[in-house]
Amino acid sequence: MSVWDDIVGQDRLLDVLRSAVDGAGDALAGRRQDTMTQAWLFTGPPGSGRSNAARAFAAALLCEQKGCGACQACRTVLAGTHGDVIHILSEQLSIGVDTMRDLVRRSALSPVSRRWLVIIVEDADRLTDKAADALLKSIEEPTAHTVWVLCAPTVEDVLPTIRSRCRVLVLRTPPSDAVAAHLVAKDGVPESVATFAARASQGHIGRARALALDDAARTRRREVLRLPTQLVSLGACMTSAANVVDAATEEATPRSTALDAEETADLASAFGGGGGGRGPSGAAYAAAVKELQKNQRQRAKRLVRDSLDRSLLDLASFYRDVLTVQMGGGVELVNEEQRSEIEAVARRTTAEQTARHVGAIFAAREAVEGEVAPILAVEALMISLSGGPSR
């Protein structure tokens, strides 16, 4: 057992990180000074396991045995409760300068464990320019025991000033047999379900796990894949759009409300409320509540958009399969289960039309990310997929 067990299909990356952990040990032991890189940038497509890799790396740095996976340090780091790991997980659209200044201040503290203080910034692509400026000096000349781990989808997503100061590690999309094997070993998922989930998620581990373990996620996906054969009229487009957006909202809402409740309670207890007494009061508390609620509203929107994005990716996988069939490839389809519908659509339409559909889906994803009202973006998409207003 080790902290690296959860990293799927990233052999090269593991070699690099293991030797970095060795170097860190040498630096701590005072054997050598220059063996530890203190600013890292992990990049990889969503779901490739960037944040898991960052957490495992942190655990290995703080563990006496380079990441045994069993000791107190390993367990608390992986559970997110170790005092020497600061994990910035932004569910907002951007990370502002205030957050970053606060982080830079905290980065100067000495680690309690006398090993390292590891700061993981999960969405470094969401740093505002000002926030990036605030970070620059700290990653250029980090405090002796501080290790920065920034994560982003691609190197290009991070400002050049930042990335030039980091050691860049690229995670690849894990192959689907590696994901399936992981689901069987880790979650005890039956082989056939694991194979389906790994294939359908196209290498996105979190998504694969959701599909393997959650009936509702599978149902939602099936419904999305049914759309291409249902868009036969304007009315069907409008209804389908409403259904897709409602499903995304339904998936995201329980998660939002749970997070909200937790944070609201934390804030109240930080201000001395909770327990049996009356709640906290005062202007500072009121201001903090207002700020928190503003952030929570933003996150609620973001979670709906993320969920919607997954549906759009599922939909795109259908048309990519159609295109595969149209190009005459004997390749396995992402959606083998829907092969007959896919072949029917492939016969009815041309490859040019299919490519246009895939393009329309990616344009809709971009629109949703750019804050176009989700329902409107999806309505326009359904209309294009139905053959467009020009039919």
Binding site: M238, V372, G388
Partner: protein
């Protein structure tokens, strides 16, 4: 869902000795229900205890502790949040408590929705918990809810006024309750009229967006352009224009696609608009083909992206949308 329960709290009815079950994620209704229980308990006993905890902390022992009589306080209000996280072993003790509640305890349970904890929810309902559904309003429910809200605040609002308010303010319950509150205060005991609503809310940016949308959809070219310029020169955010136009087109597209022969109330539900909008939609629909509507909706999505930063000039994006809608109307 019965409208009478959508967001109407049990008011100041004796909450002691009863269990209120709030289900749904609408924070406004949930908070209001909790506040009203607290108020009711404090009205009986100003020194009453107020205990708040999350369901995952609710073991059987904790339940006994918070619901059994205490030495000093006579009354107690207990709020349990995140009921969906109730530990399995706590379900039965909680259900049997609800069946025979302590006379000096008001218990409020909040289940924020989703499938988790659904069976516990059903058992609690059967055990006699009074359910308050904390859900967002549907568009056809708004006018009725506003009337109930005015009554709650000791006033009255006539049908036309409630409709005008719904159109101006939208479906957010907190905003609606705030608006009713303001109108009640300013109507000084008289009933609230449409005229008063228009005086207070008619100048709102949203309303200006709607008049642009209606004029464009109805093919009134010069009126649409005039309304648009007027709105933009009054600093109405272009986002409100594109969303009003998109909303108008959406309602129309759903209207023309609805099955024939529905009763008025069912049709309103199908189209997702208040009933009084149907007549206007009927008139608007005569000028449009499905193809035209599809074209206009795609243009609205593009304009929405443009005003949110994809293109340079936001005002021009609005103008181009209005022109696209007017031209799409001519398509057959």
């Amino acid at each position: 869902m019965a409208r009478s329960t959508a967001g109407n709290t049990p008011g100041d009815r004796a909450a002691l000795g009863s269990t209120t079950l709030v289900s749904g994620s609408n924070e406004f209704v949930a908070e209001r229900t909790i506040a009203s229980a607290v108020r009711a308990v404090r009205a009986v006993d100003a020194d009453a205890d107020f205990v708040e905890l999350a369901a995952p902390e609710l073991g059987a022992a904790a339940l006994v502790e918070i619901t059994s009589p205490s030495l000093f306080a006579t009354a107690r209000c207990v709020v349990v949040r995140s009921l969906e996280g109730l530990p399995a072993e706590a379900v039965e003790p909680l259900v049997s408590y609800v069946e025979s509640p302590a006379p000096d305890v008001a218990l409020v349970l909040h289940h924020t929705g989703g499938l988790k904890g659904k069976s516990a929810l059903d058992k609690l309902r059967k055990a006699g918990a009074v359910e308050v559904k904390a859900q967002e309003l549907k568009s056809w429910e708004v006018a009725g809810w506003v009337a109930d809200e005015a009554r709650r605040q000791g006033s009255r609002i006539d049908r036309a006024a409630a409709e005008a308010l719904a159109e101006a303010v939208g479906i957010d319950m907190r905003a609606l309750a705030g608006a009713v509150d303001q109108l009640v205060a300013d109507s000084a005991g008289a009933s609230i009229t449409a005229e008063l609503v228009r005086r207070y809310f008619g100048g709102r940016a949203e309303v200006k967006g709607f008049s642009v949308a209606d004029a464009a959809i109805e093919g009134k070219t010069s009126l649409a352009i005039e309304q648009l310029r007027w709105a933009l020169s009054n600093r109405v955010d272009p986002v409100l224009i594109t969303s009003a136009v998109a909303g108008g087109l959406r309602a129309l597209a759903r209207y023309v696609s609805a099955p024939r022969g529905l009763r008025e109330a069912d049709l309103a539900r199908e189209v997702d608009v208040p009933t009084w909008k149907l007549k206007r939609l009927a008139a608007q629909s005569r000028g449009w083909s499905q193809r035209g509507l599809a074209t206009a909706i795609v243009a609205a999505a593009k304009a929405d992206a443009d005003v949110k930063g994809a293109a340079g000039d936001r005002q021009w994006a609005c103008e181009r949308l209005v022109i696209s809608v007017l031209r799409a109307r001519a398509l057959s």
